[in-house]
Amino acid sequence: MYSQALDQRDVQRADSQREAGESPDRLARFQARVEAEEKIEPNDWMPEAYRRTLVRQISQHAHSEIVGMGPEGNWITRAPSLRRKAALLAKVQDECGHGVYLYAAAETLGVSREELVDQLLTGRAKYSSIFNYPTLSWADIGAIGWLVDGAAIMNQIPLCRCSYGPYARAMIRVCKEESFHQRQGYEIMVTLCRGTAAQRAMAQDALDRWWWPVLMMFGPPDAESQHSDQSMRWKIKRFTNDGLRQKFVDATVPQARYLGLAIPDPDLRFDEAAGHWLTGPIDWAEFRRVLAGGGVCNRQRLEARRRAQQDGAWVRDAARAYAAKHAAPAREAA
């Protein structure tokens, strides 16, 4: 499960017609409900901008789950043992399930599944930039579970308290299932780090390649994240991007040390006064480039989704035809 604070430039672009009916009084009552920690449910009145923000965030989250099956699926047939293979299969199946929970949550806001899938396949929707990086070795499967899922969990735990009920409930289910993902990844890393010099080098290489992209998963720095404030006021978000990133770094540095691996950041240092690990500067130009489609695997990932959709079309057609055929006599008998 991989939520990411992507750029939300059009969140506050006024949809003047629909927002015209939003009197200050109504907006104030809505805000009061949110502040009283009441959950907003699908049929409740909500500001258009709140609805739009949620549709985009939840669907991007869903797309990320679905696309995220690609990098890991790459290693299922080459897993080094049956135990690892079974775990990886179960994990990838979970990602698919998480995508489905999230699509269902987005659909409660009045957008159809078909429309959401279409947005992904035509490249109009975004997904987490992390999945546009390639999985070059088996150690990458360890690093993804440990770091990518670790970062995702940091992001998702606060989302369990999101003001929108269906999203919060989906996240609770996801978080329950997710902790095995991170543990299986770390176990792979431990095994490699206790292995031969070549295995340790493979683990280090994976950490070197994934560390910075994982830090980018938390989204742009707070100073540049223009719509973070509104999402915080609506209690969609509970922590800022930088706040979550810091929590992740603090939790992860000691885990890397236990493995005997070096974090690829010469500026990394512990700030005694603040009690935090401070990283060097993050290359945000790379983040924007990958998000805009310039990552190593962007094209491959979307092509894989389009192919899957196309190859499955006959199954969906057959299912619909079968259902129609069997529904007809039942109606006649009734």
Binding site: E41, N43, D44, W45, A90, Q93, D94, G97, V100, Y101, A104, E107, S112, R113, E114, E115, V117, D118, R169, A170, R173, E177, A313, R316, A319, R320, Y322, A323, H326, A327
Partner: protein, 95 residues
Amino acid sequence: MTEAPMRLWEVFIRSRNGLAHQHAGSIHAADAEMALQAARDTYTRRGEGLSIWVVPSAAITASDPGDKDALFESGASKPYRHPTFYTVPDEVGHM
């Protein structure tokens, strides 16, 4: 090109014998049998259930959130429907 929509179903799962079925989420499927299969794959990967119901979402009639006060407010103003409304002398013990 957007595809024709698949029917939407609501999924209810009974987690243990003796408990009621509870809403778990929704699923898209062409028919009831496929909906059961999809519900099983999606909502019971870790032994969460002993029984599944699937119901076409369109078959559910829901109350309007706008009627919330009219429907439920009267319940809040009738404290005499709760046991704590009544006093029983201490000497009588637990009742």
